[in-house]
Amino acid sequence: MSVRTEEMVLNMGPQHPSTHGVLRLELTLEGEIVTKVVPHIGYLHRCFEKHCEAMTYQQVVPYTDRMDYLAAMGNELGYAIAVEKLLNIQVPERVEYIRVIMAELQRIASHLVAIGTYGADIGAFTPFLYCFRDREKILHLFEITCGARLLYNYIWPGGLSHDLHPDFERLTREFIKEFRPNLVELNNLLTYNRIFIDRTANVGILPVETAINFGVTGPMLRGSGMKWDLRKDDPYSVYHKFDFEIPVGEGKMGTVGDSWDRYFVRVREMEESLKIIEQALDQLPEGDVTSAIPKRIKPPVGQVYARVENPRGELGYFLISDGSTSPFRVKVRAPSFVNLQIMDELCRGHMVADVVAILGSVDIVLGEVDR
């Protein structure tokens, strides 16, 4: 005799406190166990790629900011590298170092949001505010450099819009000094908390082969045990001059590739970013940051694919130029878009509360998913 159970379709709708943005997850439940997850996206589509075809190369930069708005420096960096490859220009070394510093600061800020909101989803409200307090200091650093806190328009193809502010180095070193003990405190409060570990360990286990088959990149892939980071394996800018580790998930609190591993990879990446920033500040050369910016960007006919390691994964820009002042086609390989496919695979067999935990560990930003 078989028991007839009814399947309930639950809609974690576009308006929900835990889906990070406007994402609609259609869950098919049997009791409390999830049998299928279908993500519906497109609520934040703003036609970025179509807009670019009407703008000049210089005017595209504010638009690239707004895709992944929590990691805007990374977006701009990818685009700048792509256009510089097309134009075949060499930027001064000072520009490269400053770009690395900004990208790593942005990585810390983005991971702080990821960690804080993950804690808030699980129910711990206090670490969220501690993370945002630290993030305020980073945003202040950005504000004195280029004038904006979230969407910078700072990294231009060919250089930067402003040189560093005279107070920047002093304030950054102060920030690094204050941040290290704050990280220890955050670990004590959230990462090693038994209840948090019970909620996230052995939940959403992602085996390495599945991750590679789906094309997952970033902390998700590293959480599953694979040591792949574009900053070491396909270095761009001046990353080959710095000494830093690539943290990988080791299954300390559960199995390799569960949510706790992904979360802990992010925490350790913040520490490594601090190391990179210190080394970059020590090695910073002098120079003029605006000297290589072309007056009019009119690249020759051709195509280029440039990729950078964004906090969420590998961000790629595929630019086709037809010789005019506007790009012919800009295609963005957004990491969150590719990572979101994993939801169905990971959530099978878990409970509704775990769906929230898994979504938080995937760390998506809807601006990037929908562009």
Binding site: M8, L10, H16, P17, S18, E32, G119, A120, D121, I122, G123, A124, F125, T126, L129, Y130, R133, L189, L190, N193, I195, F196, D198, R199, M351, V352, A353, D354, V356
Partner: protein, 357 residues
């Protein structure tokens, strides 16, 4: 004392008893709920390096009054598909369950709502009304999320009543009475007479009992935390998963009733824990009334100590809420059935053996 006052005023014993049991409690609960809401927000703010409400009144003191006025003037929304009778009764039941528990808690030596001989038993029985209220609220909301929240909440409350009862049994076995008044009276004068330190009788049994009493205190504190649906057990109201669970669909005054009931429940449970283990309304150091030879001061002081202990445990509950993440449903059940109940049971046996010595 208050009973005689009303009896002289009205002449009818039953009505006087009724009023004496309910009116002072209402006068106590309402200002307490006001203060508790504000306290929670201020404590949350300061723990998170911010300030909490600051604009209404000096440093936000009048914030709760503003909240109440806002809730009073809100539209009472009842969806078309809701079961109207259940929808309207649910908040009343939840509030009644928490409120009725106050009747058997001794506030001072001069006032207890109703001096029932089966004090604790009555309290535990009447807090079961809350389960019925929550289930009604979840069902009548006609909302899948609310239903899920209500069912989880019912399961949670029922399974955490068992460790509570086991610990209460331990205490009853040890002190020999279920009347909260006598329990408090036994722990008179100076803190080493409190039950958590082994009780009023000096002897080998007292010192042997201390570790087991401490374990019993932790068990009952955790179980009562689950009974009032506070983090880490606040799945029914999990804001990030179910958007407020069983009271999502309520607006205006009915929502205020749920809110009020939660804070009243928190205080009731803290008061019970302090009465059982920490001496109820007795002061830890002796009375000013005794030193100055003003006997009328003693009940006032006892009231002060009673509220102080109650508010202290409420503060610890709030402290836990802002520190810990939330447990998942099955982990909650595991914690209760696999951890708390066996330990409470073993504790019961050991305390029983020691009492026989």
């Amino acid at each position: 004392m208050i009973y005689e006052f009303f009896n002289n005023l009205i002449g009818n014993e039953i009505i006087a008893g009724f009023i004496a049991a309910s009116l002072p409690l209402l006068i106590f609960i309402l200002p307490f709920a006001l203060i508790a809401v504000l306290l929670e927000r201020k404590v949350a703010g300061h723990m998170q390096d911010r300030l909490g409400p600051m604009r209404v009144g000096y440093h936000g003191i009048l914030q709760t009054i503003a909240d109440i006025i806002k809730l009073l003037q809100k539209e009472d929304i009842i969806a078309r598909e809701n079961d109207k009778l259940l929808f309207n009764i649910a908040p009343v039941l939840v509030f009644a369950g928490s409120y009725a528990a106050f009747a058997a808690i001794p506030f001072t030596s001069a006032y207890i709502g109703a001096n029932i001989d089966l004090g604790i038993f009555y309290i535990i029985a009447v807090t079961g009304l809350v389960v019925a209220g929550i289930l009604m609220a979840g069902w009548a909301s006609n909302n899948k999320y609310s239903l899920l929240g209500a069912m989880r909440s019912a399961a949670q409350i029922v399974s955490y009543e068992i460790p509570t009862i086991l610990v209460v049994l331990t205490l009853v076995m040890f002190t020999g009475t279920t009347n909260l008044m006598t329990l408090s009276e036994n722990q008179s004068a100076y803190f080493w007479n409190w039950n958590i330190f082994g009780g009023p009788e000096l002897g080998l049994a007292k010192f042997l009992l201390i570790p087991f009493m401490i374990i019993a205190f932790f068990i009952i504190y955790i179980s009562t935390l689950a009974e009032v649906n506070r983090t880490p057990f606040d799945i029914p109201e999990a804001e990030s998963e179910l958007v407020s669970g069983y009271h999502t669909e309520y607006s205006g005054m009915k929502f205020a009733m749920f809110f009020l009931a939660e804070y009243a429940n928190m205080f009731a449970v803290s008061a019970i824990v302090s009465a059982l283990f920490f001496g109820g309304y007795h002061s830890p150091f002796g009375y000013l009334g005794n030193t100055f030879d003003m006997q009328w001061l003693i009940p006032v002081e006892q009231f002060f100590w009673f509220t102080f202990k109650g508010v202290f445990f409420v503060f610890v509950q709030m402290w836990l809420r802002w520190t810990l993440p939330r447990l998942r449903v099955d982990q909650l059940m595991t914690a209760s059935w696999k951890y708390l109940i066996p330990i409470a049971f073993v504790n019961l046996l050991i305390v029983g053996i020691i009492t026989l010595i």
